[in-house]
């Protein structure tokens, strides 16, 4: 299953609902383009909802890092929401879990933006 993304606004925060696989190729490019597009339009409070992401490879991890740093470098903030066990475990072993701001509750994640 390829990567699918849709965006919605909640209290000034853009939530990107992701589903499928974030892997080398189409999935990674889709993620990159979406985040860059959001930032270009001034949406700098971003939540990536990964509840439906069932697979991620090292390129996908790289895209999450890229999304995080790109957003931060442009004065924005990016949080991750609803990690599946696979993604959670991967972020743990790559020591990225504590780098990202990871949330389990959407309302709390939205509220947590400054």
């Amino acid at each position: 299953m390829s990567m699918k993304l849709s965006t919605r606004q909640v209290d000034g925060v853009t939530i990107v609902d992701c589903s499928g696989r974030i892997t080398l190729g189409e999935g990674s490019v889709t993620m990159r383009d979406t985040v860059r597009d959001l930032l270009a339009k001034g949406n700098k409070k971003i939540i990536l909802n990964l509840a439906e992401v069932n697979y991620i490879d090292s390129s996908g991890i790289g895209e999450l890092v890229s999304a995080f740093t790109t957003t931060k470098n442009q004065g924005g903030e990016l949080k991750l929401l609803h990690l599946t066990k696979k993604v959670h475990d991967l972020l743990q072993i790559t020591k990225l879990y504590t780098v990202f701001d990871v949330k389990d509750d959407e309302a709390a994640a939205v509220k947590a933006f400054k």
Partner: protein, 147 residues
């Protein structure tokens, strides 16, 4: 699965997906647990990515050879490219603080995290990566399958 199966694949992104699919199917047929199947397929995917991108650099003239061998104790997977050979002395540690936010460089680390043995043999005519996963014993008691 026969004792050994081998595939010669093009240097394309499709190869990466096919390699992962074959690994998933074979590991499942061999009776590995679901989490082990995921680990094996991801390690193979990362090895295939390295072979296609960094080894063969998508060259249509270069092939990736992927082989699965079932021994009495192990599943042995070999991925060979026809690139210039990786420089083993120049692989940064992705867990080092200065590398944590890099967007690449985690493939070999993930292979080593998920497999029991990872051997990388570079040469001027390509790199061979051997990924080994021990087959659990019938009791399922731990990675080595025996005391």
């Amino acid at each position: 699965m026969e004792q050994t199966v081998s595939y010669t694949l093009d240097s394309t992104l499709d190869t990466v997906d096919h390699a992962e699919e074959k690994a998933t199917r074979i590991a499942t047929e061999l009776g590995f647990a679901e989490d082990e199947v995921m680990q094996i397929s991801m390690a193979v995917r990362e090895g295939a990515v390295n072979a296609v991108l960094h080894g063969n650099a998508y060259s249509p003239d270069k092939k990736v050879v992927l082989a699965f061998e079932r021994t009495s104790e192990d599943l042995v997977i070999t991925i060979r490219d026809q690139g210039k050979g990786i420089d083993l002395g120049n692989i940064p540690n992705p867990l080092a603080p200065e590398n944590l936010l890099k967007t690449s460089g985690r493939g070999i680390f993930l292979m080593r995290s998920f497999m029991d043995v990872v051997e990388i043999r570079p040469s001027q005519t390509g790199t061979e990566v051997k990924l080994i996963k021990h087959v659990r014993g019938p009791s399922g008691g731990g990675k080595e399958g025996s005391q």
